[in-house]
Symmetry: C2
Subunit: 311 residues, 2 copies
């Protein structure tokens, strides 16, 4: 139980900020946790659940803070940066938890005073829930937290931030800003867009088939709906701000899909079988990398009332 920052200001009080607060409290990592959110209701919940003090403005919340965490949707980052900049304490560190990094750097970095370090970050952790009641202390356990430090970052400031993330259970890694956005477009952003699309298609069908789609949602579709239930504002901003990488990956995806679609139309079973065999190996790689459970159906079977579902 070592205090790493005397005062931490959380700007935005949703799933990520709430989980950070719970984790910092559980580990005694922060002397004081101050919060700000736009909604008065969110502020009230955060005051009850995980903040030592809640302010009515972001400017007030960051005063005297040693660490400021920007945990708002990417599209809201610039306005917040402009508002808090004059109130930041010299020597403070500002970080963020946005799902894209180039756009955040462009929105935030120009406004940060020279005496303050801005170290962009992105925890690869979340659930399909959002809001101030959705956080929990173990969200970051054994999950990656990517930092994309800019040129000239003070090594001591970086090391201190890393030690906080370590202490919350995360595996910290550093990465180039542009590479981050490309890798995330592949592993997260494009899959989410595709899931949203498939659920939208099913929604049309549902209207013609009287709830059959919902009733018989087998494993494929059901997993897509979980992804597609995530926060709409956050995801809108992800796609608007990581546009180039997402459009690049979407182009590759459409090409691949058309090749498989053609194989179906032409009855080319060998092509399909070879393709499906290759994708199995990738799943094995992920299990070996410790990023998922090997239990069948994600271990859903632990709830015997629910059982498992599939094909």
């Amino acid at each position: 139980m070592t205090v790493i920052y005397d005062r931490v200001a959380l700007i935005g009080l949703g799933l990520i900020a709430g989980s950070m607060a719970h984790a910092m409290r559980a580990g005694g990592l922060a002397g004081e946790i101050v919060g700000y959110a736009r909604s008065a209701e969110t502020r009230a919940v955060a005051r009850d659940l995980f903040c030592d003090r809640v302010c009515d403005t972001a400017a007030e919340a960051v005063q005297g803070a040693d660490l400021v965490v920007l945990a708002v949707p990417v599209g809201a980052m610039e306005a917040i940066a402009i508002e808090i900049a004059p109130h930041l304490k010299p020597g403070a560190v500002v970080t963020d938890v946005g799902s894209v990094k180039q756009a955040v750097v462009e929105a935030v970095a120009p406004h940060i005073p020279a005496a303050v370090q801005f170290i962009p970050g992105h925890p690869l952790a979340g659930t399909e829930y959002s809001g101030p009641r959705s956080g929990f202390a173990t969200l970051f356990q054994n999950r990656w937290w990517l930092l994309t430090p800019l040129e000239g970052t003070d090594p001591a400031a970086l090391a201190r931030l890393r030690s906080l993330l370590d202490a919350m259970g995360a595996n910290v890694d550093e990465m180039d800003v542009a590479r981050h956005d490309l890798v995330l477009a592949v592993v997260s952003h494009t899959p989410h867009l595709i899931a949203y699309t498939m659920v939208g298609v099913a929604d049309h069908m549902r209207r013609v088939s009287e709830q059959e789609v919902v009733k018989y949602s087998a494993s494929g579709f059901r997993d897509f709906t979980r992804i597609a239930a995530s926060d709409p504002t956050m995801w809108r901003d992800v796609f608007l701000t990581n546009k180039d990488a997402v459009l690049d990956i979407l182009g590759r995806f459409t090409e691949e899909l058309f090749v498989l679609q053609r194989a179906i139309r032409m009855g080319d079973g060998d092509h399909l079988h070879a393709y499906f065999t290759r994708t199995r190996a990738i799943r094995r790689g992920i299990i070996e990398a410790g990023q998922d459970t090997a239990a069948p159906d994600f271990g859903r079977g632990v709830d015997p009332a629910k059982g498992t579902a599939g094909e």
Copy 2:
């Protein structure tokens, strides 16, 4: 513990047949469980784990059986039907567990003798694992088992089959053959194809990004890989035999995806936000219909060593 069929023959001894055998044993539902699989290794495992008797040919396995379950890939159904037809006991019921129904009806029904009832079926249950060691007795608990009875099916034979599926914990429903194939194309077949495609795209990227894709697989991509790890032979046959419905849904999917892609390119945030908000409601419908757990991230959090991951 009431014996529903004196002798049940399982043709094909993978996840579904194995789970049926375990469930029938647990409930004392079958007097004798006889099995056949093409592979000698599979037969040996099934003999150890869940069959009372294993035969070297399908023809031998069905002799004297009151219920015959065809649990082979859809593409293998016709050859099996031709082989077993002369050996079926008058009064027996033949069912299958294939993921498509029209193609199975066309492959099997013409070969079934008049004194035998063929009642096609499809359990909406499975995991990403396959093979004779992958089955377990509770696989069908609270899951749908769709039957698509043909015209002239004997009501008593249908009722008896339903009582077996009920006793294994499944929720039995009846459905028209063509409707089954359309609904499944939406809720299962097309989502699987899309997941396979996205994993294939990532595989290309992985080669250029040195394992980053696997290492940082966040929730979106990770869920896709689970789907895409399913049995290649089964899925090849699904796409070849439910071609029309899958191509129809794929066409709708591509149209929707292009509309979203255009919104990203044009920066139309309102369109994206409205779309993502609509898809949330569908997820709620599925949870209310009891087809999934409401626990965050599928309840992966129950394993504290793994935690949860997301955006």
